[in-house]
Amino acid sequence: MLNFILLILIYTGIYALMAIGQNLITGYVGLLSLTQAGFFAIGSYVTAILSVTYGIDFWVTIPLAAIVAGFFGLVIGLPTLRLKGDYLAIATLGFGEIVRNILNNWDKVTNGPMGIQRIPMISVFGVRVSPYEKWGFLVLVWLFVLVGYLLFERLAKSRIGRALEAIREDEIAASSMGINTTRYKVWAFVFGAAIAGVAGSLQAEFILSVTPGAFTFMVSIMVLCMVVLGGMGNFKAVILGAFLIQFISYFPQLVGLSNVIPPQFKQILFGLILVIMMIWRPQGILGRQKRIAPGSFFRKGGRS
């Protein structure tokens, strides 16, 4: 039982990283990207291929996973982000499918549908962090979440974050204030992709194998649900969302009813969450983070 709760918390951490990225793109800039699964897959495969085929250490592969995922974010973002947001959703959805298509078919590198097994475990200063020792892995994953949270929170509070929010509120007004909207959107997209790459890397180390089947569209939808459920534009909220969605996802196993409840139920529930939240509580459970003007802690913050 405890092991199972730890497992949920580890997955919450891995998905929280993706949700943080999605929040920057969807919550801050207001763009609908549907491809966190694609970047997640890229990160996973970078770590898997580099560590299994080339014997490279995990700590070297993880920044590479972030860079490669970010690079693909740039490649897909550059042509589509210049246009209206709606096209982005379709293009990114297509991108996610293409990634899975390539992973399935490029046998030489990815080993096709069989995937890559026996990924070496992580070691920290010679101490092995095995996924079977759940406490250790939990701490490791949540350290990444903490760092990711602090970085993205800092980014969102900076000049860049203000520019991103300005773009969301009114793109034309933002560009007339001298904000290069395309450049900021692409950067947000690249950062969001990179952190999903890191999440992928961690997932590869946790499961110790990668297969294309683990990166379906469902993953992207789950991440989107986490952001919508927690609250768009609030990094703490999306971490809460990550926990709630993972909890729902494993609930049937947790109460021992996985034989009774068909697997589609949770997916139907995710769909319902999206529709219901949009109609009744579009700001999410916690709502958007209030922006407090610097130096005026006791004054009321303006509308963000």
């Binding site: 589509t80 379709i90 297509g94 589609q264 139907i268 999206l274 939240m277």
Partner: protein
């Protein structure tokens, strides 16, 4: 087989495929024209329509092929269309209408939710195994000058042409069609002129969904029916709508046919591996968005403050 016969063969295959894309693209483009939003659930409405059509056909077709099975085929198609039309209207009423005044993101997210609900409900109720539609008539290919054409392809082409012509006439000539065009041009002004915009939007969803169900049923004839069939097909049809110029009905027809031809000739002549056929549509999308974002027949719209 001579090379010109081969060319006509691919042309024929591409036209049938493209005709099906065009029917689906019409639904996207009509909704986009009025509400300026992508109905993500369109592909899943298609899937539900195909299932209903398939079940109806199985229930009424009887055992022997004959004139009745052909009639039954059309009755089943009609059943799928009606069901999908109702479903499309219900979805609009429940999941999109409350969000008309919300941010741009809200209806999109809601639509993704609906799409996910539909495909998983289908998987749960009807199973994930793909089903094949029984042939309504003998499907032995006919050979015309070295080109082999199956009776199914002829049927598909006829249905597609009839649907497209009647839709075009309906939108251009009828009163409701005129109201649809007015609503898409300027919803508020249309309302002031006494057009019930809400009703027009509901009708638009009904027509688009019925066309999607038709397309899905035709796909069932050629390929198979399964819960996630709407996703890829829907995406490609959306690309077709964008290529033709989203919001433009003739554009959707043109875009669909072009995409069908591009996929067929891309695999046959350019030597694109069959496994990457699905990628062609997305490359086409990115190219068209870069070169001519308004699409082939679309109008350039300046964004105003």
């Amino acid at each position: 087989m001579g090379s010109s016969a081969e060319f006509f063969q691919h042309l024929m295959n591409g036209m049938t495929l493209g005709g099906i894309y065009a029917l689906i693209a019409l639904g996207y483009t009509m909704v986009y024209g009025i509400l300026k939003f992508i109905n993500f659930a369109h592909g899943d409405i298609l899937m539900v329509g195909s299932y209903i059509g398939l079940f109806t056909f199985d229930a009424i077709r009887g055992q022997t092929l004959g004139p009745w099975t052909i009639v039954a085929f059309f009755i089943a198609m009609l059943a799928g269309m009606l069901f999908s039309a109702g479903l499309g209207m219900a979805i609009e009423r429940i999941a999109y209408k409350p969000l008309r005044k919300a941010t741009r993101l809200a209806p999109l997210l809601s639509a993704i939710g609906v799409s996910f609900i539909l495909s998983n409900m289908a998987a749960w109720m009807w199973g994930t195994k793909s089903r094949k539609l029984e042939y309504p008539f003998d499907n032995t290919p006919l050979h015309i000058g070295g080109v082999s054409i199956t009776p199914h392809q002829i049927l598909i082409l006829i249905v597609v042409i009839v649907m497209m012509v009647s839709l075009k006439l309906f939108v251009d000539k009828s009163r409701i069609g005129k109201a649809m065009r007015a609503t898409s041009l300027d919803q508020d002004t249309a309302k002031l002129m006494g057009i019930k915009a809400d009703r027009i939007i509901a009708i638009t969803f009904a027509i688009g969904s019925a066309l999607a169900a038709t397309a899905g049923f035709l796909i069932a004839l050629e390929i198979k029916v399964y819960p996630s069939m709407g996703t890829m097909t829907g995406l490609k049809a959306f690309v077709a709508a964008v290529v033709g110029g989203i919001g433009n009905i003739s554009g959707a027809m043109l875009g669909g046919i072009l995409l069908g031809l591009l996929e067929t000739f891309g695999v046959a002549l350019l030597g694109i591996p069959y496994g990457l056929r699905d990628t062609i549509a997305f490359v086409a999308l990115i190219i068209i968005l870069l070169v001519k974002p308004e699409g082939l027949l679309g109008k350039v719209e300046k964004e105003k403050v």
